[in-house]
């Protein structure tokens, strides 16, 4: 099996730390309605990096991709249905 190299791992960590400080800095700037989405997008990118490199999903068989994605898939139903009120409100 292929594995992440030491360099991959250190670069992943560096990217995570840079994004952490970007998130932190952006929270103290008034970016209007962009603040929260910007922070959340960066947090999701951080999560994907951890999954792909630290958790080695990138180097695993597709079956592991499906198992790793399943939890998030079910979670998306939970969240989307609970939020349906907010999604539908503006349609009146």
């Amino acid at each position: 099996m292929n594995r992440p190299t030491k360099k991959n791992l250190v670069l992943t960590w560096l990217a995570l730390v840079i994004m952490h400080f970007t998130i932190l800095g952006s929270a103290y700037l008034d970016l209007g309605p962009i603040n929260t989405p910007f922070i959340l997008i960066l947090a999701v990118v951080q999560m994907v990096l951890v999954l792909l490199f630290f958790m080695e999903v990138r180097y695993r068989p597709r079956l592991v991709w499906i198992f790793a994605g399943a939890g998030f898939f079910w979670l998306s139903f939970q969240w989307a249905l609970v939020m349906s009120d907010y999604l539908m409100r503006q349609w009146h």
């Binding site: 594995r3 992440p4 030491k6 791992l9 250190v10 992943t12 960590w13 995570l16 730390v17 952490h20 998130i23 932190l24 929270a27 103290y28 700037l29 008034d30 970016l31 603040n35 929260t36 922070i39 959340l40 947090a43 951080q46 999560m47 951890v50 999954l51 490199f53 630290f54 958790m55 080695e56 695993r60 068989p61 079956l63 592991v64 198992f67 790793a68 399943a70 939890g71 998030f72 079910w74 979670l75 939970q78 969240w79 609970v82 939020m83 907010y86």
Partner: protein
Amino acid sequence: MPEPSTIVAEQFDTPDQQSEAAHLGMWTFLATEILFFGGLFLAYLVYRHFYFHEFAAASRHTAALFGTVNSLILLTSSLTMALAVHAAAQNHRRSITRWLAATILLGSAFVVVKGFEYHKDIADQLVPGAHFNPDLPAPAQIFFWLYWTMTGLHALHVLIGLALLSVMFLQARRDRFSSVYHTPLTLAGLYWHFVDVVWLFLFPLLYLIQRHP
């Protein structure tokens, strides 16, 4: 080091097959953990929509400095964990124990910092109840109820992770792991990284709501 033939349970044909089955099992468990923390984040999301301004006011009372230090500690501990697994794959046996020790130290540092932070939170009257900080609006108690629950359950996961890593450390010292067999180490690593992922969301959502002036 045990020979490959002695570490394959009888229901498996090869070490690879056994390792893959173990990985799928771990990912199934992690899916339940995603749903567990997902439910907590969902409760957070709903109440944040109901009481956005109160949540923002409450969030500004959290200790962002402690939070950011702990983020850096946890991110770095994930790196050292990944390096421990990397060392095992490379058959660098002494490096395994070194990186595991670093991970355990960093994880313990996280718990210690969290302890100081909780102490400050209690002194600042941020525990929901009769003695809640009178400067904050009442719904801020919901925020802090979620804060204590979510960070508390996360800290519990860190403690469980530390226990797992300690067992891995002892096994590594007994030379149990090699490039041929290190599945328990990899699975403990998956758990540790998962705990890190949860924190990646806890930190901005709890500490950083409307921090700007």
